[in-house]
Symmetry: C2
Subunit: 215 residues, 2 copies
DNA sequence: TAGATTGTTAATCGATTAACAATC
DNA sequence: TAGATTGTTAATCGATTAACAATC
C-alpha cells in the first residue's frame, strides 16, 4: 500500500539508486538499499513489491529498472509544478535548493507581498504579487503549494492556493492549516523539531530513534 | 510515556497555551486543545497525564499550570544551547527564525567554512570557522547541533559535533547520518517532503493525513 | 442533582518484524 | 547442488481509539 511513509521511503530509494547508477552499479540487494536508506530489508522488499517491481533471488534488484518503476509511481508523466509563497529567508533557501534540480517537479512561480521583491527575478523566476496568485497558479496548472510566510498569514495563503486548484501543501509556518479531506497538508515545524532534538539530547535517545532515517 | 511523538505534541501544546494565556484564557478543555493542536482529546488527556499534571472534570486544565508543567518537562532548568553549522540560505533562515525567541534554548554559535562569513557577526552571533568547532562547542557547553551544510559534508560535521559532546542533531542535509545509539538524530529532508506532497496532490489524500497536524 | 469532563483501562487498528517456502 | 535472496504470510508490537466509572 502506498501510504505516506512508503512514498517517503521511495523518494529516498530513488536518490540512492540515482547515486548508485552514477557509480555504474547495476544491481542492489534489499539489505544494501535498506542500510543506505536506514530502513529494514523487509521494508525494502515490501516497498518494491508495492510499486510492482520484481527482483531476482540471485542478483537482487536491477538499479535501472527499479529506478524507472519508482519514477513511474512518484512522477506525474506530464510533469508537476509548485508555487512558493513567501520569499523570505526560508523561501529563498528553498528556491535555491530546488533550482534546476528535478525537471519533473519544479517550483514554477514565487509570490510575496513585499513590493520590493515583486517583479524582480529571484533564482530564475519572477516574483509575483499575492494579488496575482489565483491567475498565475491556474494558468500554470500548479497543484502544489509551499508556504513560507509568517504564521498569521498561512491560513489565508493556504485558502488562496486551494481556491486556485492546489491539492497539496508543504507548510513551514507554525500553525495548523485547516484543509478539506481531499487536500494533503504536510507541516514542518522547525521549532518543534528543535525542541524534540534538545529533549532527547538531554534525556538520551532510544535506539529506535537513532537508527531510523524516516519517522 | 514520553516518546518522540508525545514530545512533539507537548511542544505544540506549549505554543498554543502561550497564545491562550496572551488572550487571558485561564482554563482549557482537552477537546479544545486537541482541536487547536490537531490531536484527539484522548491524546491530550494522556499527554497531560504523562507530564504529571491533573485537570478538573468541571474546569478542564489550568492554562498557566499546564504551561509550567510542560516547560518543566521540555526545558533544561539551566538552559540549553545549540550550534548551527553551515550559514548558507537555510542556515541564515534558521538563525533569523530563532533569534531571541526562546531564551531557554538558543543558538549560541554559528560555523561556516567560507572565510567571507567567518568572524562576521550574523544575527547577533559571530560566525566561527569550522576549525574552532570543538573548542567553541565544548566551552559553551553546547549539546544540540543543527546541520545545514551540503550533503557531502554532513557526516563529517556530525562527527565533529559529536566529538565535541553534542548529543542531539537536527539535520537538513539529504543524507543518513550514522550516529551511536546515545545520540538523537532528527532528519528533515525537504525534497522528500515535497515529493510526498506532490504525490498526494495528484492521487488524493487520505482523510487521516489531512486532519492530523503531527505525523 | 444533572451533566460534561477527567483519568484510565480494554479493544482496535496498522505497521513492523519474524519466518519460511520458492527461486535463481 | 548449495546458498543467499526474493516474495509473502503469520506473529508481534505499539500506538490510537473507544469506553466508562469517578469526579467536580
Amino acid at each position: 500500500m502506498l501510504n505516506a511513509k512508503t512514498i517517503a521511503r521511495l523518494s529516498v530509494y530513488r536518490r540512492l539508486l540515482t547515486e548508485l547508477r552514477g557509480e555504474r552499479v547495476e544491481t542492489v540487494y534489499s539489505h544494501q538499499l535498506a542500510a543506505l536508506a536506514g530502513a529494514t530489508a523487509a521494508q525494502v522488499r515490501r516497498d518494491v513489491m508495492n510499486v510492482g517491481y520484481q527482483g531476482s533471488p540471485t542478483r537482487g534488484y536491477a538499479v535501472e529498472g527499479l529506478l524507472e518503476r519508482i519514477a513511474g509511481v512518484l512522477d506525474a508523466p506530464e510533469g508537476q509544478r509548485a508555487a512558493l509563497v513567501g520569499v523570505g529567508n526560508l523561501g529563498r533557501a528553498i528556491l535555491t535548493y530546488f533550482a534546476g534540480r528535478r525537471p519533473n517537479l519544479r517550483i514554477a512561480a514565487a509570490f510575496d507581498v513585499d513590493p520590493e521583491k515583486v517583479s524582480r527575478v529571484l533564482h530564475g523566476h519572477r516574483c509575483h504579487s499575492i494579488a496575482e496568485l489565483e491567475d498565475v497558479v491556474r494558468s500554470l496548472g500548479i497543484d502544489v503549494g509551499i508556504i513560507t510566510v509568517p504564521a498569521g498569514e498561512a491560513q489565508r495563503v493556504a485558502d488562496a492556493l486551494m481556491q486556485a486548484g492546489v491539492r497539496g501543501l508543504l507548510n513551514f509556518a507554525p500553525v495548523r492549516l485547516r484543509v478539506p479531506p481531499d487536500v494533503h497538508a504536510e507541516n514542518v515545524d522547525i521549532s518543534v523539531l528543535l525542541e524534540k532534538v534538545a529533549f532527547f539530547a538531554r534525556h538520551g535517545s532510544s535506539q529506535k530513534e537513532t537508527t531510523r532515517w524516516l519517522p
